[in-house]
Amino acid sequence: MIQFLQYLGKSTRTSFTKLGRGTYFLLQIISGILSVIPRPRLLLNQMYSIGVLSFLIITTSGLFVGMVLGLQGYYTLSDFGAEETLGVMVAASLVRELGPVVTALLFAGRAGSALTAEIGLMKATEQLSGMEMMAVDPIKRIISPRFLAGFLSMPLLAALFSAVGIIGGQLIGSGLLGVDEGAYWSQMQANLDFQDDIINGVIKSIVFGFVTSWIALFEGYDTIPTSEGVSRATTRTVVNSAFSILGLDFILTTLMFGDD
């Protein structure tokens, strides 16, 4: 009994200290962002490894998700003779939910895990301490550019995902299944609102980009500097990112699309 209480107390204490360290780390990152501006090269390198290298997987998955939505939506909607509204269904589900969420999950798997492993290994091989010895702040030099790059890439990737998905849905819907192309687009335009749908989707993707980059960098920075520690930190990045993305998505959806 006492042991159980001890265990409970210990895990509460460690999770709270971790949360505290994470928040402090986030504040450090944000205060370090200003020093990225005079060195755009650092940001550019990270935009390349985070954004450009994720480009292919995001667009491919977007295309296939859109095509599957087109197929499934068509089968269901044609039961009601409403296949003309396929465009609305594909676009609304992509722009509101699937675009931001699936992009963020892929982003956590593709870019987040790489970030954690990179920073974790830097810590394990004492490169970060080496930088501090040379009076170079690793937060400003290493962490903040990566954070900013992830934060900026995520909305762009999510927008690409949705755009490619909508085109994929159109390819299947009007190319293969014979939904009228004009109806596909005009129904979509009539029923989707710029502010309510597009802007809210972009806000979601910004929030997810923020959270995913933060988790990935913190897990890397906070890792136990052994090879096992790095591997565990990488796993934690993907798992924790997925949980926070899905949880936050639920909260954001309730707030954004609650009263209609």
Partner: protein, 155 residues
């Protein structure tokens, strides 16, 4: 690491394609023009029952959208529904004996206000009132009346 200028180009391409994606969503997928407020003037109409009319429902004349519903309120004195519509300024030649009716697009579609111009030479101004109105047809009510009537006839 690749040559820096190639990397620059790729990052540039990535950012450009992301922005193109956003623009595509804004322009092609949602109707951005409905977000930009067009110049419009307001007219009001009083209905006995405005049915399922909502704010932002379309206002059309001869099947063309000429504005949208901007506000719906209940008048506690006359027990009527006061529907405020903003009509695009380029359609400023609606006569003051225009009839406003609430129709449904399709059997189960959304409801909209249809304006049918009369023959008067005086045009509706900003803040003008549409005097002749026809309420929304409430399907349940119509079915109820029909059933009641056919039951009566059988007696």
């Amino acid at each position: 690491m690749q040559h820096t200028s190639t990397q620059d180009t790729l990052v540039g391409l990535f950012v450009a394609s992301g922005i193109v994606g956003l623009f595509f969503l804004a322009l092609q997928v949602s109707n951005l023009s409905s977000f930009v407020e067009e110049d419009s003037y307001t007219i009001t109409a009083r209905f006995e029952n405005s049915g399922g009319l909502k704010i932002k429902s379309p206002v059309s004349a001869s099947g063309v959208k000429i504005g949208k519903v901007s506000n719906i309120s209940f008048d506690p004195d006359t027990y009527q529904s006061v529907v405020q519509m903003s009509i695009y300024s380029k359609y400023n030649t609606l006569p003051d004996d225009t009839t406003a009716s609430i129709f449904t697009a399709g059997l189960l579609g959304e409801q909209y206000v249809n304006l049918e111009p009369g023959g008067s030479d005086i045009f509706l101004q900003n803040g003008g009132k549409v005097e002749i109105t026809q309420s929304a047809i409430i399907l349940e009510k119509a079915i109820g009346q029909f059933l009641f009537k056919s039951a009566e006839e059988k007696k």
